[in-house]
Symmetry: C2
Subunit: 307 residues, 2 copies
């Protein structure tokens, strides 16, 4: 089982080099990530955007553009459309956001003709390598679906479990989180968590083990889980792979609390699409962007071999 | 301004030694915390509970009971009632949970005759000293009020601000948290956060500066806050003291995520009561219990001097 981003990157060694198509590539952090990704054999790139600006930025970060394909499209909407079509046509394996706002980028992802829709709802997964936690943690949804319904939560689980399978976790453990680990009819989140667990037992959610509601410590901390009475009945004992959040506020606050207070390496992807979509935010570091490219490349390889 | 629990404990140096009354004191972790608190001049204690069991446990942790007042009450409900009455009568300064379940303990806190009701709603505050964060963080509510209304949030702010004043933060910055830092009518949490901010500007919430909605990074990370456009208009720029959570799930998940992934020292109190109430959970370490006693002693001293 893969337990770190370094292991994830090492997993790419045997695979044909994947190619990322970057929408509106004139962004210093994105180009730096693309450069590092190529140096580390994680992915090659096609840069779609304003060629002059791309060249200017490349010079400032000491990036040699001679080995990259650059497609000169000045208009941002057109650049995104061109970039995403390269992925849907199979010229590139994954799609990445550059200096375009999230709304415009998502519009290209969802474009009916050249976009990457599958009919499945989209969701977002953030993968954490936390110091002191044995397994990689897949957090969802911390950025995309504000108030997921039960149906949305099933989609989030399915989307996230596919990413786990791609990474090499054949039967991930999914923890629907709450403040408490017992069902309380006054807390709808706990009722839905139990419902998801039941759907998994009945074979309506497959490819994973669902066990909730769970508090955060019982989900990721084996010691805490073992101390609690009744832990022996549980399928998850501090060894959850997937952390499913009640809503975007809980998810986003935990995500940012961990990033800003703990030692964490992370990468993230938009899921539920035909090909991996890298939608890192402006404030994400180059490291996060490189990790996201590595995650995307592993998922692209898995999709190619399984579809 | 006090920035750590060590500074908080040092603040007690000049004050008369406070006394904690412990309900059902036959609990090894609690007795150990009481012992450490006395050694460090944080607080003295009156132990109410099963005397034989208290003596047995004391022996096992090498605790000399000769300097403690012990009141022998075998029945748990009666022990709690006796212990809390010592606080309401002014014999002790604060109240602490021992080997009694939370429900039974709260019943004694809320007892109409001998309890510690003020008429104000109770809430819970958890104080964090996070490595890398300059100020102490006051998280609320992560444990007591499941789904706070706007009115509840005003009470939570008032209760928590009083604790900040006691600790020596005269005008704390209160951040009503959300996934985003702009008001979005589709996210009720952000609308309420803006409403709380307005109430503060209009003088309906006093003794503090409220600014929300805020995402976690903009609340506690000055760098992140300064990078965001528009930060210059904000009253909080990564320097929040109080983190107000949308609901118990968001609060509790963040609280446990931070405790289990970051380097954090913490202590906590029940607030809105006549005297400080220490309601640590069984899984809290001795250190957390000692910190909570120190926090309680500082708050008890403040209450004595200001009421």
């Amino acid at each position: 089982m893969i337990k770190s981003f370094d292991e994830l990157i090492a997993k790419l060694d045997g695979c044909p080099l994947k190619k990322v198509s970057v929408a509106v590539a004139q962004d210093a952090h994105v180009l730096e990530a693309v450069k590092v990704a190529k140096e580390r054999n994680i992915a090659d790139a096609i840069l779609v955007g304003d060629k002059e600006q791309i060249e200017e930025i490349a010079k400032s970060i000491d990036m040699d553009l001679s080995s990259y394909e650059i497609i000169d499209v000045k208009d941002m909407t057109e650049a995104a459309k061109k970039a995403v079509s390269l992925v849907s046509e199979g010229v590139a394996d994954m799609y990445m956001k550059g200096a375009i706002d999230t709304k415009g980028f998502l519009k290209s992802v969802l474009d009916k003709e050249v976009g990457l829709r599958t009919g499945k709802p989209l969701s977002h997964v953030c993968v954490f390598d936390v110091e002191g936690v044995d397994q990689l943690l897949f957090l969802s949804d911390v950025a995309f679906i504000p108030y997921p319904t039960l149906e949305d939560k099933v989609s989030i689980i399915n989307n996230t479990v596919e990413i786990c399978h791609a990474v090499g976790i054949p039967n991930p453990k999914v923890a629907p989180l709450a403040a408490v680990e017992v069902v309380n009819p006054k807390m709808p989140v706990t009722v839905e968590a139990a419902e998801l667990t039941k759907m998994n037992e009945e074979g309506k959610i497959t490819g994973c083990i669902v066990d909730g509601p769970l508090s955060f410590d019982l989900a990721i901390c084996p010691e805490a889980a073992q101390h609690k009475a009744g832990a022996s009945d549980r399928k998850i004992v501090g060894d959850a792979d997937v952390l499913l959040f009640p809503d975007i506020h809980a998810g986003n606050l935990v995500y940012k609390a961990m990033v800003h207070t703990a030692k964490i390496v992370n990468g993230n992807l938009l899921t539920g699409t035909k090909a991996p979509v890298i939608l890192t935010s402006r404030s994400d570091s180059v490291e996060v962007k490189v990790n996201s490219l590595a995650l995307g490349a592993v998922v692209a390889d898995f999709m190619k071999n399984n579809n």
